[in-house]
Symmetry: C2
Subunit: 215 residues, 2 copies
Amino acid sequence: MKDTTDFLQTGLDTLNDIIPKKLHQQLQFILEMDKLKHVMRRSPLLDQSRTENDAEHSWHVATLALVLAEYAAPDVDIGRVISMLLLHDVVEIDAGDTFLYEESAFADAKEEREQRAAERIYGILPMDTHQRLKALWLEYEKCTSKEAKFAMALDRLQPILHNYFTGGGTWRSHDVTVQQVLSRQHVIEEGSAELGRFTRQLIDDALKKGYLKEA
Amino acid sequence: MKDTTDFLQTGLDTLNDIIPKKLHQQLQFILEMDKLKHVMRRSPLLDQSRTENDAEHSWHVATLALVLAEYAAPDVDIGRVISMLLLHDVVEIDAGDTFLYEESAFADAKEEREQRAAERIYGILPMDTHQRLKALWLEYEKCTSKEAKFAMALDRLQPILHNYFTGGGTWRSHDVTVQQVLSRQHVIEEGSAELGRFTRQLIDDALKKGYLKEA
């Protein structure tokens, strides 16, 4: 039988007296991050055995940045892009995953929910680590820098790949239309002209193959 | 019923005629990466509901690098550390996860198995991306640079955290002794004196609490 002792709290209590406060706070944050492995997305894995979770997705998009670095604008700092992508969904530990095409009160309150989540989660960290990591997340959210634009493009591209290469994925299961997908496609073009062009080709072919509905 | 059409191969065949060969090869690699989400490790998630997979683990250790950057040696390029950590387990798509304390013919053949896996998997990429990514993996494996040493320290630290904060984890389920853990602990000290000291405190307390056996 599973031992249900709260080993996590016991451990943190013990270490509180032994290790520096700063490291203790960083450790709490690291342990909190484990919860992202339980936040499920809508996108299917390529073998369609299940949907993916936020931790897997975050790893996959960060890896996309490494592989596709050459399609970013000149002088984009790929290290920053990757750092943003590692953190971009952390707020979903509290705020949950919001489906891109959802129209609901839940979707409308996304920003407020994520702001509150960021306060709590990054607030676990000691001040300097807090400021450094939250600044990366805010840069991504505001999407003003070249780095954030490329990161966001990859975050949009990855589920499109999963939908296309599973014969429709969430496009089919959620009755998504080609107009809906095209209306969000500019984010990819703004991050990378070449990947934007590629995505348009994927969408055209998805329509042709019936993975996406016309209207 | 699940549609069992091979949408992945169909998509790659279609795109073969449409997109540049280089991007097509990069795309194949990106799709191949999805398989890392199915490679299961021994370490439990902190809520003990299941063990974690390699994609989740890779994201978590890369995030550790971001949070714990200050404990690296001076002038360590954290971007390179993170890039190595994103890729460090990719060979396990073919080679499988080898438990750190396993003594078997399977464990003995780990290096050869991983070399073969690297040939095939990085070989999917176009030449320049191949060379860039494989060089990062080799740097990690050989563990000669400061960046590789810090990356490897974090790769060792993360499962220790999972074992400690679940009341023993794989230490208990696999009858691991404190001597076995200490014999691998130098890797953490070599990557970071401060994290090495912290790990030793964790191990001491784990022994005290009975999470680890004496001999």
